[in-house]
């Protein structure tokens, strides 16, 4: 890989991890609040309230870290898969510049307590216009990097007619497409509704239309977080455990399944919303459940690849082979633990999407409990595990400490079991999310919340320790000495059947893109027409913090 591209990827990953480091710092504050330890008064004037802290935690971790890391990682996987330099490099660098500019604008308003609206920023809570403009610029910048990545793929496909796109590049490019399609909702929300309203060009806004456009983007966003982990689990992890990918065809089918079923599903986040016709809530429920199929296929293919590799290493027994996997490799251990916890994240997701069950858990702590298994484990722990080889590859410096890297992933795993377990449990007992329970007026009415709250707090502190271990490894590696004899191999898995045997329709990009667009039009077209024809901008809103 060209030095130029390596450096570009390194900068993207580096800034992403810097955002994560601040986001993680704020995590234990929320967790300790559950144990009635309110540290926020000590943080004034730096952080004004619990709500400012949660906003920073959510925006920096779930929006900034993920987006920056994923654009960087996909730049890497697309270039590595195709063995090409990045095309339209200037455009990508300009896009990255915009992302950073957007980050600085929004970041300023967040720290200045001008945008304590949480990472869902539901209008008519009204943040500083700079917050919305910054986030919009960040997304447009990410599109530009995406165009550059897709142009690289386009050129490669022209030069290699009839050849199957290498899997890691294919899965990554699908995710880039997913992002471009999904963010249309939030772009429309920002440009047509939120920014004019926050700039006082219009006096009020339509809350339901805002929420609908937000969730058009909001759910595919979670697949956008997840698919880079899938790229690694399908395309890299089999190699890291000394095996091969079990099925190239099903891996591809699963990526396309995520693209097709990613977007027309947002109403399952609005089951409790008034004003959304029931028909569309159930149509989206049906489409949401379709994602179960590629998810279960992934579970099968990835576990089959792992099992074959483990049996080749002498593994025996129905489950006994698991211990023959290379657990001493922190990158492998991290991904295995992430995948294991993701199983529970997936089951929880099915519960959330089950319309009637959703009434029990909507907006309780169950929900953050759930997405800490998905984005904060399946994605984040996998991303951490990836950096254990990616940072040495990009910098030419060996990993600072394999042992501490192993401690990182196990600590994260144990912390998450407590934290997420506590949050799920607490949610089932009816505790609301996004509330500082230490100061809430009704906490004393619920003595049964005590035990799960302690679980959550203990888990949060353990997670924080895991985060500290992680950043010691990252910074230690980064500041370490270059060793030219250390040649880090990028793990790219082969498949048991050569990709050439994979049918051509699984590499027919037009087919799948058209199919995705058609489903989005079916799933959102009529209801958006209805909401827009009922357009009633009557919520003035304001700053309530």
């Amino acid at each position: 890989m060209q030095q130029r591209d390596k450096r570009f990827i390194g900068v993207q990953i580096g800034v992403a991890l810097a955002a994560l480091s601040i986001g993680i710092l704020l995590g234990p504050l929320q967790a300790l609040d559950k144990a009635s330890i309110d540290l926020y008064p000590f943080l004034k004037p730096l952080i004004a309230s619990y709500y400012q802290g949660v906003t920073l935690h959510g925006v920096l971790n779930a929006l900034v870290f993920t987006t920056l890391f994923i654009t960087g990682f996909h730049t890497f996987t697309i270039l590595k898969g195709l063995q090409k330099p990045l095309r339209w490099f200037g455009l990508a660098v300009a896009g990255y510049g915009m992302m950073i500019a957007g980050l600085i604008l929004s970041g300023y308003t967040l720290f200045a307590n001008q945008a304590s609206v949480l990472y869902t920023f539901y209008p008519p809570l009204k943040a500083s216009p700079l917050f919305y403009i910054g986030l919009t610029i960040l997304v447009i910048g990410s599109w530009m990097i995406g165009w550059s990545q897709l142009a690289t793929l386009w050129r490669w496909r022209k030069e290699n007619p009839g050849v199957r796109t290498p899997l890691i590049a294919m899965g990554s490019a699908v995710n880039v497409l997913l992002w471009q399609l999904a963010t249309l909702g939030i772009a429309a929300q920002m440009l047509a509704l939120v920014i004019p309203w926050s700039l006082k060009l219009v006096p009020a806004t339509d809350v339901l239309l805002n929420r609908t456009l937000f969730w058009f983007t909001g759910h595919p966003l979670v697949y956008f977080w997840l698919l880079p982990a899938y790229v690694s689990w399908y395309g890299m992890l089999p190699k890291q455990v000394g095996g091969k990918l079990f099925s190239d065809s099903l891996a591809r089918l699963s990526f396309w399944g995520f693209l097709v079923f990613s977007t027309p599903v947002g109403f399952h986040h609005q089951f409790s919303d008034p004003g959304v016709p029931l028909l569309w809530k159930y149509v989206h429920t049906l489409l949401t459940f379709m994602v179960v199929i590629p998810s279960f296929m992934t579970a099968f293919t990835v576990i089959a690849s792992l099992e074959r590799a483990a049996r080749d290493r002498g593994g025996k027994g129905t489950f006994g082979w698991i211990k023959n996997l290379p657990w001493k490799d922190p990158s492998v251990a991290g991904q295995l633990l992430a995948g294991f916890l993701f199983f529970f994240g997936g089951i929880g997701g099915i519960i959330n999407a089950s319309a009637s069950l959703n009434l029990v858990i909507h907006n309780t702590t169950w929900v953050p409990g759930h997405f800490h298994l998905t984005v904060a484990t399946a994605s984040t722990l996998t991303f951490m595990a990836i950096t254990f080889w990616l940072i040495p590859y990009l910098t030419g410096k060996p990993l600072y400490s394999v042992k501490l890297a192993l401690w990182t992933v196990w600590t994260w795993f144990v912390g998450m079991v407590f934290f997420s377990g506590g949050m799920h449990w607490l949610g089932l007992l009816g505790a609301p999310r996004r509330v500082p329970l230490s100061t809430a007026t009704y906490t004393a009415n619920f003595p049964e919340w005590m035990l799960p709250k302690i679980f959550t707090a203990v888990g949060g502190v353990i997670l924080f320790i895991g985060g500290v271990f992680y950043f010691i490894v990252v910074i230690g590696t980064w500041l370490g000495k270059k060793k030219s004899e250390v040649e880090i191999e990028v793990p790219v898995a082969e498949s048991e059947l050569p990709p050439a045997k994979t049918p051509a329709w699984l590499d027919n990009w037009k087919l799948w893109i058209v199919l995705s667009l058609v489903l989005v039009i079916i799933g959102y077209g009529p209801v958006l027409v209805q909401l827009i024809s009922n357009f009633a901008p009557n919520a003035v809103g304001g700053r309530f913090w």
Partner: protein, 158 residues
Amino acid sequence: MEIHRYEKIWIAITISAVILMLAAISLASFGLGLQLPGVAGSVDPAKLAQTPPFDKPGVYQITEGKYQVVMVAFAWGYNPNEVRVPAGSRVTFKITSRDITHGIFIEKTNINLMILPGQISEASVTFKDPGEYLFLCHEYCGVGHQAMAGKIIVEPKP
């Protein structure tokens, strides 16, 4: 396309599971009546004081054992924030917001609603057992969010 036999079996299991789960949801939603809130009308949040029924929030008896609660949510409270009904009552809530987005979750029930300015949220529940049922706001609505709550007092049948 070559698909391993085990994979075919697995995909068949997956598809059957999806069908089964969707059947269960349909049964719960349409058979057992665990229905989601739908469209219950819209209202201008600036004109609530002139718009029935929100001009007079309160508890109204419709017929024997049937009540309607007309409620307005605001930062940071509910009007009314205390509701009294006899045990065994079927209570329909009609709620909207005067300012920003709120929510309501009534403990020990399936009432879990978003409350949006401009929209009317509606849901019904039967309170079988006497006692106090706390309700609280579950959508972030600013610095007083953690103090936004109220209660339903279900009185024993006379």
